[in-house]
C-alpha cells in the first residue's frame, strides 16, 4: 500500500493512502474497459495542459485576480466526474475549475471567465476560478467554503422530489470539513437519502493549515458514520480507484439509495493559489508527491496494457494546445462588459433607473414661510 508524507509540526509523518474496497461486501470491481481507461488518461492530460497554461497566462499578467490550480489532483477531479449525465449537477469548490472540462463547458467560455470578459458565463462578475455554467447544471459558486454543499442538497432534493435519476457531485477540500455547512449538508443528505456524492479532496492542506489541525482523524471518510451514509477513502492519485469508487457511489445515488462520502487522498503540487509560494511545506514532501504523479502512474499502467505510447501523448497534447490557443484568442478578443452593466442582474427587474436617475421632488403644497 502506498504511503505519503505530510509535515506534522516539525516532524514528517506517514499517512497511509487507502485503496477503497467496494461498498458491496466482498464484491470486487470489474476491470474497466480499455476505452474508459484511455478516456480517464486523456482527460487528466487535458486538465493538466489547460491548468499549466492558465498558470503561465496569470504569471504573464494576461489576466488578473487569482487562480487555484488542481495540478497533481487530476485523478480525483477526473475520476469523480467522467461521464456524468447532462442534468447531473456539480457543486464545485474553488479548486474545481477543471471539472468544467469534464462536464463539457466550452473551453472558450472558461478562458473568457479567466479574463473576466462579457462572453463568460457570468459576464465578468465572478473571480476567475469561480465559474458556473447553467446549461450543464454547474452551480456558480461563491467563495464561502463549503456553502456549495448545502446548496447541492437542494438540487438533489429537487431530483428526488421529481423522481429524476440525476445526481449531485459535491466537491470540497479537507478544510471544508471543519465548517458547519459541511456537517449540515452531510446530515441532511443522510436524513433525506439524497442522490449525492460528497467528494472530499483531501490534499492535506487548507491554505497553510495541515490536516492534523483541521481534524483529529486521518481518514475523513470515517465521518460518514455519523450521518448514516457510507464513507470510503481512496488513493486520490489512482484515477482507476477513484473512478471505480465514484461510479459505485453514483450508481447508488441514481438507484435512490442515498449519498456517499468519498475521500480522495491527494496533493496539490503548487501553492494554494498562484500568489502563494507555499513555504509551509518542505521541498522533500512536495518532491515525494510529485513522484506519485497520477498522470505518470496512469501512463505506466496503460503502457503495460499496450494502450499508451509517447507519440499518442504528444498527439493529444498538440490537440489540446490548439484548442487552448483558440480559447485564449477568443477570450482576448472578447469585449469587456460596459461599466454600467454592473447594475444588471440584481433582481428579476432592473435597478438601472433607480441607481442612475435620482429624481428630485419639489413641494406640491403652498409654501408659507414664517
Amino acid at each position: 500500500m502506498a504511503t505519503a508524507i505530510a509535515s506534522i509540526g516539525d516532524e514528517q509523518a506517514e499517512i497511509p493512502a487507502v485503496i477503497a474496497p467496494s461498498l458491496r461486501e466482498g464484491a470486487e470491481f470489474e476491470p474497466l474497459p480499455e476505452a474508459t481507461l484511455r478516456r480517464l488518461y486523456t482527460y487528466m492530460l487535458k486538465c493538466r495542459t489547460v491548468e499549466e497554461k492558465i498558470r503561465i497566462l496569470f504569471k504573464q499578467g494576461r489576466f488578473s485576480g487569482n487562480y487555484f490550480a488542481a495540478v497533481g489532483q487530476e485523478a480525483t477531479a477526473v475520476g469523480t466526474t467522467l461521464d456524468l449525465l447532462e442534468k447531473d449537477a456539480i457543486a464545485p469548490s474553488h479548486r474545481s475549475f477543471i471539472t468544467h472540462i469534464m462536464k463539457g463547458t466550452p473551453l472558450k467560455l472558461l478562458f473568457a471567465q479567466l479574463y473576466g470578459r462579457k462572453t463568460s458565463p457570468d459576464q465578468g462578475r465572478s473571480a476567475p476560478a469561480h465559474c458556473g455554467y447553467a446549461p450543464l447544471n454547474i452551480i456558480t459558486p461563491s467563495s464561502t467554503i463549503a456553502a456549495q454543499l448545502n446548496i447541492g442538497t437542494g438540487i438533489a432534493l429537487a431530483f428526488k422530489m421529481r423522481r429524476e435519476p440525476n445526481v449531485v457531485i459535491a466537491l470540497s477540500g479537507d478544510g471544508s470539513t471543519s465548517l458547519g455547512f459541511w456537517h449540515e449538508a452531510m446530515n441532511f443528505a443522510g436524513v433525506q437519502k439524497l442522490p449525492m456524492v460528497f467528494v472530499v479532496i483531501n490534499n492535506l492542506y487548507a491554505e497553510s493549515v495541515p490536516l492534523y489541525l483541521q481534524t483529529a482523524v486521518t481518514d475523513i471518510s470515517l465521518k460518514a458514520q455519523g450521518y448514516g451514509i457510507p464513507g470510503v477513502s481512496v488513493d486520490g492519485n489512482d484515477v482507476v480507484a477513484v473512478y471505480q469508487a465514484a461510479r459505485e457511489a453514483i450508481d447508488r445515488a441514481r438507484a435512490g439509495e442515498g449519498a456517499t462520502l468519498l475521500e480522495c487522498k491527494t496533493y496539490r503540487w503548487y501553492g494554494h493559489s498562484e500568489i502563494d509560494p507555499a513555504k509551509y511545506r518542505t521541498p522533500e514532501e512536495v518532491q515525494e508527491w510529485k513522484q506519485r504523479d497520477p498522470i505518470v502512474a496512469m501512463e505506466q499502467r496503460l503502457e503495460g496494457l499496450g494502450l499508451w505510447n509517447e507519440a499518442w501523448k504528444q498527439e493529444l497534447i498538440a490537440g489540446f494546445r490548439q484548442e487552448i490557443e483558440e480559447a485564449v484568442d477568443f477570450a482576448e478578443k472578447s469585449p469587456v462588459a460596459e461599466a454600467e452593466e454592473c447594475l444588471d442582474h440584481v433582481y428579476s427587474f432592473s435597478v438601472r433607473e433607480r441607481e442612475l436617475d435620482r429624481k428630485v421632488w419639489s413641494p406640491k403644497f403652498e409654501v408659507v414661510r414664517r
Partner: protein, 328 residues
C-alpha cells in the same frame, strides 16, 4: 367575505399556493405534524404530504441553502424560520448565496425562494424571541424584504412572494398573528411587491411604518385627528427592500412633515435610509426635521415588562413625535 386573522391569511395563502403549483413546497422546523410553533402551517402536511410540507433538521443554514438549490432547479420553496432571532445560522445562505446567485451568474441561475420569518417584540419573549432584524436584509441588495401589516396584505403579498422570481424574505410579526382580523377574499389575489400603500390619507404629516408598528401608527394618526384636528397620511411600506420611494416622496411633497416608526434598531434602520433619501431628493419639501420613533440602540429586548415597554414603540410615543413635528 370571511373574517380572517393574520395567521389564517398566511395559512390560506400557503394552502392555495400548494394547490395551485406542484412546484411549491414548504420546509422548516416543526412545520409538519405540529403545523409550526405558531400554527401557520396547520393541517398542511395532512393535506399535501410529508414531502411537500417537510420537517427539516434543526439547522437554519440547510433550510435556506437547500431551498436555494431546490429553487435553482425550478421548484418554489417556502422556508420557515421559526424566530428571526435564529436566522443567523442561515446568514451566509441568505446574504452570500441567495442574494448574489442571480448577480454572480449574470442571470443564468436564480433562486425564486420565499423565506417566512417570524419577528418582533412586545410579547414578553425576551432577548432571543423578540428581535426585529429586517435591516440586516434590507442592507443586502438582491433580497426582496416584505413585511405585511394586515391579513389582507399578508395573504396577497405571500402569494406574490411565492410567485416572484427573486429571493423574498417575508417578515411576519408574531404579535399580529392573532390580534388583527379583517375580511379577506377567498378568491385568488395577489398584492404587488415593491409597492407601498397609503393606508390613511392626510395633508399635514406623512407617517411611514410597516408591520406591527404600522398599526400603532394608524392609531396615533386617529388620535392626532381627534385631539388636534391634524390629518396624518399613513404609508405602509409593505416592501422594505427595494422600498417604494415614489409613494413616500410624493406624500412628503404634499405634507412637508415626516415621522418614521419602526421596531428595528435605530442606527441604520430603514428610518435612516428614508430620512437620507428625503434629504437628498426632497430637501425643498421639508418644513420640519424628520423624527424617528424607534427602539434605543441596545442589543435586544429585555424580557421584564417595564424594560420591554420602554424599548418598544407605542402609540403615546408616536403621538408625541407627531406633535413635535407639527409644532415645529
Amino acid at each position: 367575505m370571511p373574517v380572517m386573522t393574520y395567521i389564517d391569511a398566511i395559512n390560506t395563502a400557503l394552502r392555495e399556493e400548494l394547490t395551485r403549483d406542484e412546484n411549491v413546497f414548504l420546509i422548516g422546523e416543526d412545520i409538519g405534524k405540529m403545523g409550526g410553533v405558531f400554527k401557520a402551517t396547520k393541517g398542511l402536511q395532512e393535506e399535501f404530504g410529508a414531502e411537500r410540507v417537510m420537517d427539516s433538521p434543526l439547522a437554519e443554514g440547510v433550510i435556506v441553502s437547500s431551498s436555494i438549490g431546490a429553487a435553482m432547479s425550478g421548484l418554489r420553496p417556502v422556508a420557515e424560520i421559526q424566530f428571526a432571532d435564529f436566522i443567523t445560522p442561515a446568514m451566509d445562505a441568505l446574504t452570500q448565496q441567495a442574494a448574489k446567485l442571480r448577480y454572480r451568474s449574470a442571470g443564468t441561475q436564480t433562486c425564486p425562494l420565499t423565506v417566512r420569518v417570524c419577528y418582533g417584540g412586545g410579547v414578553g419573549g425576551g432577548l432571543y424571541h423578540s428581535q426585529t432584524n429586517t435591516s440586516w436584509f434590507i442592507h443586502t441588495p438582491g433580497l426582496v424584504v416584505v413585511a405585511p401589516s394586515s391579513p389582507y396584505d399578508a395573504k396577497g403579498l405571500l402569494k406574490a412572494a411565492i410567485r416572484d422570481d427573486n429571493p423574498v424574505m417575508f417578515f411576519e410579526h408574531k404579535k399580529l398573528y392573532r390580534s388583527v382580523k379583517e375580511e379577506v377574499p377567498v378568491e385568488d389575489y395577489t398584492v404587488p411587491l415593491l409597492k407601498a400603500a397609503v393606508k390613511r390619507a392626510g395633508t399635514h404629516l406623512t407617517a411611514v411604518s410597516y408591520g406591527y408598528t404600522l398599526r400603532l401608527t394608524l392609531e396615533a394618526a386617529e388620535r392626532m385627528k381627534q385631539e388636534h384636528g391634524v390629518e396624518v397620511e399613513v404609508i405602509d411600506l409593505r416592501t422594505l427592500a427595494p422600498w417604494d420611494k415614489e409613494t413616500v416622496l410624493d406624500s412628503v411633497a404634499h405634507t412637508s412633515r415626516v415621522v418614521i416608526v419602526h421596531e428595528d434598531n435605530r442606527t441604520l434602520g430603514i428610518g435612516a435610509e428614508i430620512s437620507a433619501t428625503i434629504a437628498e431628493q426632497a430637501f425643498d419639501c421639508l418644513d420640519a426635521p424628520i423624527v424617528r420613533v424607534t427602539p434605543p440602540d441596545i442589543p435586544a429586548i429585555p424580557a421584564a415588562a417595564a424594560m420591554e415597554h420602554f424599548y418598544m414603540p407605542n402609540v403615546d410615543k408616536i403621538v408625541a413625535a407627531m406633535e413635535q413635528v407639527i409644532r415645529y
